[in-house]
Amino acid sequence: MSLDLPTSGCRSTPVLKERGQREVFCGLTGIIWLHRKMQDAFFLVVGSRTCAHLLQAAAGVMIFAEPRFGTAILEEKDLAGLADANAELDREVARLLARRPDIRQLFLVGSCPSEVIKLDLARAAERLNVQHAPHVRVYNYSGSGIETTFTQGEDACLAAMVPTLAPATARELLIVGAMPDVVEDQCLALLSAMGIGPVRMLPAHRAGELPGVGADTVFALVQPFLGDTHAALLRRGARHIAAPFPFGEEGTTAWLRAIADEFGVARDLFEAVTAAPRARALKAIATQSAELRGKRVFFFPDSQLEIPLARFLVRECGMTAVEVGTPYLHEAIVGPDLDLLPAGPVISEGQDVEKQLDRQRAAAPDLTVCGLGLANPLEAQGFTTKWAIELVFTPVHFYEQAGDLAGLFSRPLRRKAVLRKEAAE
C-alpha cells in the first residue's frame, strides 16, 4: 500500500471562501439517481414549475419509463392559505399511492418555494405516515437550492432516513452512499472475500432491506458529500471509519485497508484479495492516464467529489492541480484525502462564478472540470473541459472502474488532439 504522505498535504492550506453567483444544481437533482436506486420509493417534490423543469432538464434524456418522481406544483390558490395547501397535498399523495400500490417509501421533498412559504413538510409527513401506515413510510427532506447544493440532496435524503432505522445490536458494517449496482456488487465481493460481513447498505434497494443501526455499527462512506448523514449516524451511536475515498487504486486500497484494520483482517489475506484487482487497476490507469501526465487541472465546484478526485488525478495520473473548488468542505470527511493531496493548489469553497472564471482564464489549465452550463462556452474559448456531472452518473468507484475514471478525464484531451490533427490536414 502506497500511503506515502506528501511532505505537506492540503489539510492546512487556507481555504479561499467565496460567495456570489453559484453555477451549480440544487439538491433536487439527486432524485435523478436516487429514484432508480430505491426501487419502491417515490420522490414527490412540493414546489414550482421551475422544480419540475429542472428535474426534466437534469434528467437530460427524459426517462419516460414512468418516473418514480413528480412535482406537486404550487399554484396561486395554494399560496393564498396554508391549510388549503396541506389538504391539497394529502389529496395528491392519496391519489398517487392509489395509482402506484408498489410504492413503499414516499419522500416529500421540500423546495425553495415550499420553504419560503413555510409549508411544514415534516408535519405533513407525520400526518401522512399515520394515514398510510404500515404500507407506506413517509419521509421528508429538503432538496431546495436555498438549503442544498446538488449532491447534498442525497445527503439530506439519507440523513432523513437515519432516525427511523431500526435499532441494531450486532457488530455490523454499514456502507453509506448510493452507488451503481455493478460497483456495489464489486465492493461487497471484496469485503466478503476478506471475511467481512454481513454488510448493510444505505440506501437499500427496497424498504424491507433497510439496515439497523446502533452502538456496535461501524460505517464507511463511499461518497464525500454525506456530512449530515455522517452526523446523524454518529448521533445513533455508530462509529465512522475515516478513510480516503475509494477512487483509483490508491484510494480504493486505503479505503478497504481502513475497514480491514477495523475488522482485524490479516495482512496476507488483504494482499491476497486485493493483489489481482490492484494490478488490473494500475494497468488500466497507466493506459488511460497517458494524456494526463504533466497536465494542469482546474476544478469548478460541483459535487463535492472534487477533493478526492483531485487527489486521484495528482497522485495516480501525474496531473498538477491548479485550483480545487468544492461547494462545501467537510474536513472530518475529506480530511484523509486532503492529507494525501500535495500542497500547491488553491482550495476554494463556495463560488463567485465570475471571479472564478477570471482565475481560470488567467491560469489557462489544460483541463477544466465544470458544470454543463460552463462547458461549451469554455470550449468555445479554446479550453478543454470535462463535465462534472458525468462523474456522478458514471460508475467510477473501486478497482475495476479506476481506469474508466482516468478515461473520463483523458477522453476530452484525446478528442481535442484528434480533432486538431484533422483540422491541420
Partner: protein
Amino acid sequence: MKLTLWTYEGPPHVGAMRVATCMNGLHYVLHAPQGDTYADLLFTMIERRNHRPPVTYTTFQARDLGGDTANLFKDAARDAYARFKPQAMIVGASCTAELIQDDPGGLAEALELPIPVIPLELPSYQRKENFGADETFFQIVKALAKPMPRTEAITCNILGATALGFRHRDDVTEVTRLLGLMGISVNVAAPMGSCPADIARMGQAHFNVLLYPETGETAARHLERACGQPYTKVVPIGVGATRDFLHEVSALTGLSAKVDESALRAPWWSASVDSTYLTGKRVFVFGDATHVMAAARIAATEIGFDVVGMGCFNREYARPMRAAAKAYGLEALITDDYLEVEAEIARLQPELILGTQMERHIGKRLGIPCAVISSPVHVQDFPARYSPQVGFEGANVIFDTWIHPLVMGLEEHLLTMFREDFEFHDEAGPSHHGAKAMARTEDEVAEPSDTFAAEHADSHAVPVVTPSGEIVWMPDAERELKKIPFFVRGKAKRNTEKYAADRGVVQITVDTLYEAKAHYAR
C-alpha cells in the same frame, strides 16, 4: 396543487431567458436562489451555444432570507452592469424570489444606472414559459421602440424568433430570403439576433412579420398601436400557407406576390406516384398551436393524410386551435398533461404522430412512428444543417422529415406479401432505420431474448393479443392478427375490437377480423 411528471413548458423566467439569450447587448439580472442556474445548460447544451446566457443570478440562500436579500440584488445588478456593460438590462424574479417580494424593478431603478432598465412582472404561479418570452419581448419593445420615419424602400421587422425555439434560427433566414424574392428587405429581426439599439429603430419598418404568435404577438399588437405598423397573420409554414403569406404581404405593400418557386419540390414529391401510399394515413398532431395548425393543414391538403386528432399544450391559443380542429371535424385536445395526450394517442392508434419530443417518447412506448414539429425541444432539434420549417425550403424539409419515420410504400407491400421471410419481416421495422433491424425469432411462440426485451421493450408496448375488456381473441384470430404488418396492426386490433363491441361479439374469430376489415375499408 397539481401533480406533474413532465412539463411542456418551463416557468416564465425561462421564457425571459430565451429572449435575453438570443439578443446581444442585453443583460438579465434575475433574483433567484442557488440552483436556478440549471437553466443555463438548456442553452449551452441543448442549443450548443458557445456563450453563457447573459444572466446574473443573485443566488440567495436560506441564511440570507432573514437578512437583506434586497441588497444582494442591488449588488448583483451593480456588478453585472460594471462587468458586462450592456446597452439595456431586464430585471425580474424567479418563482422563489417572487414570494419574498423584493421588487427588483424598484431596486434596480434606485441604482440609477445610465442605461434603460426594464422591470419584468412574470407571475410564476399562474403563467408559463411562452408567456414569459412574449411578455419580456413586449416589455423590451415597449420601452425602447418609438415611432419614427419609415425607411425609403419597403422594409419589415420579423418578430418572435427566440433561443430554444423550434428551428427559429433557420426560419428567420428562410423568411428573409422569401421576402427578398418580393423585393422587401428586413429592418430588424427580433428578438433573435438583435440588440437594444436595433429594437429602438424598429419603428422605421413599414410592417411586421409575426413569425411566431406564441412569443411575438403582444409586441406585434403594441407596434401596431404605437408605431402604426400592420402585422401579418399568416404563419408561412407549408406550401399553401407560404403562398397565402405572400399574398398577405402583397396586400400590405402593393408588391407582386408572384415569386420564383423553382426551389419548391414538396408538391411534386407529394404528387409523384411513389407517394400514393401516404394517402389517408391517420395522423395525430400535437404541439404548440402555431405549429399544430400549420401541420394539420399540410397533412390534410398537401400530403393527403387523414388528421384524426389534434391539439396544443398552450391554453392561450385554445380558441383558434378549437376553430382549426373543427374544420377537420375534430374536437381539439387542449392540455398540458402528457398522460392525457398519451391516452388519446393510445385510443386513436394513429399511423403517424406529428408532435413534440414528449410525443416522440409516447410514440416509442406505443410503437407508433413520430416526427417532431414543435418545441419542447432537445439536442436533436438543433441540426447542424440548414433545416427551416417556413417558406418553400421549409415545405421541402417538412416533406422529408415526416415521411422518414414511415415504412416506405413498396416496402409496405413487400412486408405484407412476404411477412414470413426470416430477414425481411415486419418486426425488423422500416429497412432504412438500421438500428432496429434484427433477425426474426424462428419459433413463433418463443419469448424474445432478454437483451432483446430490454432494448426493445418499447416496441412491444402495443399489446398484440392482450384482450381488451371483456372481448376475447380466439387463438386463430390472434395468429392472423400477428400476420398483419406492425405499422397497421394497432389500428386493425382497435377496429376489430370496436366492431366486435358494437355488435356484442365477445369472441373474436378470423371472420370477425375480416368482417371488421371490410366494414372499415376505405
